[in-house]
């Protein structure tokens, strides 16, 4: 069983020099000064080394999972996750831990340079320890990245479902991209909530940006429209392109109970009519008067 005892003591005794050597090699290695300042980098190195030195001397290196290593691992994990968020590459993140090797090996050589057997065994211990730490760093980095991706996915779900108010009592939902279960659920909820919040009577669902309308998408749309109806709002489906129209017919999807339009503009006109409004062109004199009033209002 390999024990860190003597090695830890040696490291503790030479702490200042190791940190100095380490920060020196960190500085010369290609680090991302644009992402992390030199001072932060040095203070992180000092913190990490302090945590290593604090590990109880009797701790076994083969037990990397034991509680004694926890503070060191936690610190490495925190640093790696923050690097993932800052945009460091996995290599750069692992290098931060790995770059301590020369400093530690140098210290070991100074201490046991005259005793090859001892020198070899101590270097083996230190090497395996730093490797484990750097693997842990990479793992934490990936975990951090995964969380970044998950957050971005959530952001996208929200981003992609904006409900816009077109007029008093008329909301529109422009759908863009693939409509799969998770997104459709969000879309449906946002629309129904918007109908309540804005007290709308007409909701336009525009599918111009949806590349494929299959039976699942159609079913989701129909469910949303039925739910909206239960709440007293009529839905108009717009943005049905020629290829989508043909595909829907071939699939045998029945959309006859639903008001559909090719363009959002047509759907808006219908929505205005349904709420008792009309868009009309006004003649010359009236137009001038209206323009004047508009200017005055500004």
């Amino acid at each position: 069983m390999v024990i860190m005892k003597t090695l830890l003591q040696t490291l503790q005794d030479n702490g200042d020099r190791i940190v100095a050597d380490w920060t020196h090699s960190l500085r010369s290695a290609t680090q991302r000064k644009d992402l992390l300042s030199e001072r932060d980098l040095e203070s992180q190195a000092a913190d990490l080394f302090k945590a290593i030195v604090k590990v109880p001397a009797e701790t076994k290196i083969s037990e990397f999972g034991s509680p004694a290593w926890r503070p060191v691992k936690d610190l490495v994990a925190t640093l790696s996750v923050s690097r993932a968020n800052l945009g460091f590459s996995p290599t750069e993140t692992a290098l931060f831990v790995l770059s301590i090797k020369p400093a530690i090996f140098g210290t070991i050589r100074q201490e046991w340079g005259s005793d090859p057997d001892r020198l070899f065994s101590e270097i083996t211990v230190a090497d395996s320890f730093i490797d484990k730490l750097s693997l842990h760093s990479t793992e934490s980095y990936i975990g951090g990245r995964d969380r970044v991706i998950a957050r971005q996915q959530e952001d996208m779900l929200e981003l992609s479902t904006p409900v816009v108010t077109l007029w008093d009592g008329i909301v529109a939902l422009p759908l863009i991209g693939t409509l799969d279960s998770a997104r459709t659920q969000v879309v449906m909820e946002t629309l129904l909530q918007a109908i309540v919040d804005t007290n709308s009577r007409v909701a336009i669902i525009d599918i111009t940006g949806v590349p494929t309308v299959d039976t699942l998408v159609a079913q989701h749309l129909l469910k949303t429209i039925t739910a909206a109806r239960l709440m007293g709002a009529e839905c108009i489906l717009s943005g049905i392109r020629p290829q989508i129209a043909q595909t829907i017919v071939h699939l045998g999807i029945d959309l006859q109970q639903i008001a559909t339009k090719a363009k959002l503009a047509d759907a808006f006109r219908l929505a205005l009519e349904q709420t008792g409004r009309r868009v009309t062109r006004i003649d010359g004199a009236q137009a001038a008067q209206a323009a004047k009033a508009a200017k005055a209002a500004l």
């Binding site: 693939t178 494929t212 039976t215 699939l251 045998g252």
Partner: protein
């Protein structure tokens, strides 16, 4: 298939989760563009792929999609095989009926895909699995 049909390019995509159906769709669209299908036909082929891919996932509990560009010397086209090792279909005629579904869908996936494509072949054995092979010529 009529005439000597040769396979020009083939790809196999595993279907294990709903994102895989999206991948199948994207890949089918790429191949459909390569064959030179019109926008309408592209949409038909992609929609059929979406239906059948989702069937493989939901009813067959996952499987594979094999997409290929085919050539019979005169015309080019796209052929797609969806294979699963699921429970199989006991009554194929019933499954092909518009509006019949064993799940929660609309019951139009199989029959609709048949109408969207030129060729349609379904083989299934209860307890062994189901294979649906479809093709559309340009």
């Amino acid at each position: 298939m009529t005439g000597e049909t040769t396979v020009r390019k083939a790809e196999t995509i595993p279907i294990a989760e709903s994102n895989d159906v999206v991948r199948v769709r994207q890949q089918v669209r790429v191949l459909a563009l390569e064959v030179g299908f019109s926008l309408v036909d592209q949409t038909k082929v992609v929609t059929a792929a979406s239906e059948l891919g989702r069937n493989t996932l939901e009813h067959g509990h996952g499987g594979h999609a094999e997409i290929s560009i085919i050539d019979n010397g005169v015309k080019r086209g796209i052929k797609m095989s969806f294979r699963d090792n699921g429970p199989g279909i006991a009554d194929i005629a019933l499954a092909m009926t518009d509006g019949y579904t064993s799940g929660k869908g609309m019951g139009l996936g199989l029959s609709g895909s048949k109408r969207l494509m030129n060729e349609f072949e379904l083989t299934s054995e209860v307890g062994v699995g189901t294979t649906v092979t479809v093709a559309r010529w340009k």
